[in-house]
Amino acid sequence: MQRLLYERFSSKMYGVCLRYAENTEDANDVMQEGFIKVYNNINKFRGEGSFEGWIRRIFIHTAIEHYRKKIKLFNISDLTENTIESDKLNALDSLATKDILNIVNELTPGYKAVFNMHVIEGYSHKEIAEILGITEGTSKSQLARAKTVLKKIIGTRFTNVK
């Protein structure tokens, strides 16, 4: 039973772990910890929403817990999401998934967590604030800062990008 569940979701969840982790070893730890949590709490799944979504949330929470000490969030009040130009980020669309992942992994744990949760997973700033124990404003400013850093990385890697 456990083995079947692992075989069904391990590839997807390992992708999630690699997005949040700093390196492969840490991703392996989160992966192991996450599946143990899934097996221990499987009776708590009430059937509300998709099962994959429930498992994914467990893995995201596990990854956040794993890096809570490393994540240092600063409120950058002078930057807002609206001020960030998103045109340079569009350059990521033309890249292969592994290359995108490598670029995102260059972000610091704090930026990466907020970027992944908001941009990729679709969490609201309110939800991110609750999960990370920060204010909504901090979540927004962290995201803005993450985007700025990403644009810089993209600018240096791909000189032809405006």
Binding site: R3, L18, Q32, I120
Partner: protein, 199 residues
């Protein structure tokens, strides 16, 4: 922009195989402790020694119990007693047979047996003293000796005697008690039996 979000959201890659082993070990709460080789050998040696000791103790206890069992020893005692008694009966039967045959075949010997104690009164000469089934002395008339010999249907055949004895046996078997000369009632019964025999 949407494209790169979807790419990252759906990103899949197979995890290393060792992760499952760790998870399985954690689920089953298996803790594998690697031991040095000599430690393993030591444990195997102790296990074999313990098993051998247990086997020796078990076999020894079974053997000891069997030998020291009171039931077993009393059984042996009873068997020995039975054997002795059977031997005694067999011996006395053989002796009886020899005496009776000698009486029938040798008149002189018969006289010797009869007159064992010459000082006793003259009535004793009228009886033979033979050993009973359990070795006890039994007095019988010399005339009856021939009857007893004939009762076993042995060789040579004695059809007349055998017929008479069977008749007497039938009469005796009709009685619920075996009459003896010890009391008056038995004497009456014996007389009645004799009457039946004569009839």
């Amino acid at each position: 922009m949407q494209d790169f979000k979807e790419k990252l959201y759906n990103y899949e890659t197979p995890p290393p195989e060792e992760i499952w082993h760790h998870i399985a070990g954690e689920i089953n709460d298996e803790k594998v402790i690697k031991m040095p080789r000599h430690e393993k050998n030591k444990i195997v040696f102790y296990a074999i020694a313990a098993a051998a000791s247990l086997v020796i103790i078990f076999v020894g206890s079974v053997f000891f119990k069997k030998n020291s069992s009171p039931k077993y020893s009393s059984q042996i005692k009873t068997d020995q007693q039975d054997l002795l008694l059977a031997q005694k009966i067999k011996d006395s039967a053989q002796l009886n047979q020899q005496i009776l045959e000698s009486i029938i075949n040798n008149r002189k010997e018969k006289k010797e047996i009869v007159s064992k104690e010459p000082n006793k009164n003259i009535d004793s000469k009228m009886y033979l003293t033979v050993a009973g089934p359990e070795g006890q002395p039994v007095k019988i008339s010399p005339k009856v000796a021939t009857l007893i010999i004939s009762a076993d249907d042995g060789y040579p055949p004695k059809p007349l005697w055998s017929k008479e004895i069977r008749k007497w046996q039938k009469i005796m078997l009709r009685n619920t008690i075996s009459p003896t000369s010890a009391n008056f009632a038995d004497l009456v019964q014996l007389a009645a039996n004799k009457q039946m025999y004569n009839d």
